[in-house]
């Protein structure tokens, strides 16, 4: 514990003026809207001019948990998150291991791997939507020709298949990020460890399980956290590819639809949408806290 007397008054004032712009910015555009959303969730409320706020207590929340569309979007979000994060992790680890090996043009290959990450999600969604096109899309045509899919099956219009296609886009887009984080973790492993293991006659697989994985564990943990939290919030890909049709609606897509599609509705669904916003916030918050506890992350 520091004694108060060790702080200089001038430092504290300067720090105050330096930090206050940041606090004002996040206060106005993050904390205040969050509070507003929380408040709205207890009302029947719409932005329709002249609409009277009506306090309904927890009714919006009670309705939410009886809403089949909410429950299915919750399930879809969990399904999407589980499979996309799992596949991204496995492919990302593979990519990182390859990038950690020595070969010609490695710098260029690493840059090439980064490209999907840099492309705006909206753009990559459209690129893939074109490849999925049920008449002229290259992926559809290949799958039809190989006899895997029946000619003319619309990939993005078929339940089950559509979600798989969406997951594929997310995997393509995000694996580079996963790979880079894991690669950074791999690069801190000293080469001597592997050399010693080789002299002891350890196989490559043995080296992987007894050196690489244990050293990489903290990095893997952080990577999985980042990805899970991101995947739980997925919006862009789903909105652009299917607008949430054929069993692909995720929480964020349903939430925006509730808020914005009914914004001036006399039914007052804005409050209901706000309740869903709060629930999403709580889900993410709980995940964050569990993760930070389990990894024992400390700040400063």
């Amino acid at each position: 514990m520091k004694v108060k007397g060790t702080y200089k008054k001038s430092d504290i004032w300067l720090a105050f003026w330096l930090i206050i712009p940041t606090l004002i910015a996040i206060g106005i555009t993050a904390f205040y809207p969050l509070g507003q959303t929380f408040y709205d969730s207890f009302f029947k409320w719409s932005l329709r001019p002249g609409f009277e706020r009506e306090f309904v207590g927890f009714q919006n929340y009670i309705n939410l948990f009886q809403d089949p569309r909410f429950l299915s979007s919750l399930w879809n979000t969990i399904y999407f998150t589980f499979f996309s994060v799992l596949i991204e992790f496995l492919l990302g680890l593979g990519t990182a291991l390859i990038l950690n090996a020595e070969f010609k043009l490695r710098g260029l290959v690493r840059a090439a791997v980064l490209i999907p990450w840099a492309i705006p999600t909206a753009v990559s969604s459209q690129m893939w939507k074109w490849m999925y096109n049920d008449q002229y899309g290259v992926i559809s045509l290949i799958l039809y020709n190989l006899g895997i899919l029946e000619e003319g099956t619309p990939i993005l219009g078929t339940p089950g298949l559509a979600m798989t296609a969406i997951i594929a886009v997310d995997v393509w887009k995000t694996t580079p990020f996963v790979a880079l984080l894991l690669l950074a973790g791999l690069q801190i492993i000293p080469n001597e460890l592997y050399e010693a293991a080789r002299i002891d006659g350890a196989s490559i697989w043995k080296q992987f399980t007894s050196i690489t994985l244990p050293v990489l564990r903290p990095t893997i943990g952080v990577t999985l956290i980042f990805r899970t939290l991101d995947a739980l919030r997925v919006f862009d890909i789903v909105y652009i590819m299917t607008q949430g049709a054929v069993g692909t609606e995720t929480l964020a897509v349903y939430n925006r639809s509730l808020l914005m599609d009914n914004i001036f509705s006399p039914r007052g669904l804005f409050g209901y949408g706000s309740a869903l916003s709060v629930v999403i916030f709580l889900i993410i918050g709980i995940f964050t806290i569990i993760y930070m506890r389990s990894l024992n992350i400390k700040l400063d």
Binding site: A30, L34, A111, T121, I297
Partner: protein
């Protein structure tokens, strides 16, 4: 025996190179396919033949994308919004980062936690409240209506990366500047910030990419096609009728907005990787 070792090594090399090639194809192919489609004339684009090279090579899609829709404006909107976001988040974020990294003040941990907490907020959870706020301020469908929320979205990462960066600068430089009669703010402005140019470039790049790519807020707060940023314009791409998507043009638009990012990534890949890993591995 020796020959066997070498053969084994060669096989391993070959497998590695095959894997590298497969990997590059996986990551590059969709982008390549977009480029290929953008240069293909419509009569060849809408066929069931798969060809790896554009047939009926044409620039028509690239011309039409600017003449048939306000795509030039959309790019300008994105440059203004992402540019302003980058500049403001770096200035504001570097102030806070310096205070947290270098000044002796109480409560640093909770302060950093408060700022980082924002990065955990699901955007959709503040969408409703933010929409009402911007509407009351008359900022819906304006640049500031997008720039201000983007700054807040970027500040956690900016502050975090920069305070890590400031901590690694040698303290002696600041101390000697201080002894030479510079105030602490002058020291920050004249000495620390110029010395931190590499860190500022990294954070600036990440902030720019994030703002350039953001979709949910842009979709909700920009309401007329002339005000759309690039991702929204691309998502809302339609032809003469709603069901008739001009895929060639759409791919041309995609290539146009992706090219600058690809070049940034190729030029600054080391910086970007550093920034991303500082933002995550240490977190």
């Amino acid at each position: 025996m020796r020959w066997g070792m070498r053969a084994k090594r060669n096989t391993q090399r070959t497998i590695l190179y095959i894997l590298v090639i497969l990997m590059v194809i996986f990551y590059i192919f969709p982008f390549y396919w977009a480029i290929k489609s953008s240069f293909t004339a419509d009569q060849y684009l809408f066929t069931k033949n798969i060809t790896l090279w554009p047939q009926g090579f044409t620039f028509e899609n690239y011309i039409k994308v600017f003449t048939e829709r306000p795509f030039g404006l959309n790019i300008l909107n994105s440059i203004i919004v992402a540019g302003a976001t980058t500049i403001f988040s770096i200035i504001v974020g570097s102030f806070a980062a310096y205070a947290i990294a270098r000044l002796k003040i109480p409560g640093k941990g909770p302060l950093m936690l408060l700022i980082l907490a924002v990065s955990m907020f699901p955007q959709v959870s503040i969408l409703g409240g933010l929409f009402q706020l911007l509407r009351n301020l008359g900022l819906i469908n304006t640049y500031p209506g997008l720039i201000i929320p983007y700054i807040a979205l970027n500040l956690p990462l900016t502050t975090w990366i920069l305070q890590n960066f400031f901590r690694e600068l040698p303290k002696e430089i600041e101390e000697s500047a201080y002894i030479d009669g510079c105030s602490k703010f002058e020291t920050l402005w004249r000495i620390v910030l110029p010395l931190s140019a590499p860190g500022l470039v990294t954070t600036g790049l990440l902030a720019f990419i994030q703002a350039w790519n953001e979709f949910l807020f842009a979709l909700t707060f920009m309401q007329t096609p002339e005000k759309y940023t690039v991702p929204v314009a691309i998502a809302m791409f339609t032809g003469k009728t709603f069901y008739e998507v001009p895929w060639g043009q759409l791919m041309a638009a995609s290539v146009i907005v992706t090219m600058p990012l690809v070049i940034l990534v190729l030029v600054f890949q080391n910086r970007i990787v550093q920034g991303l890993t500082a933002g995550s591995v240490k977190g």
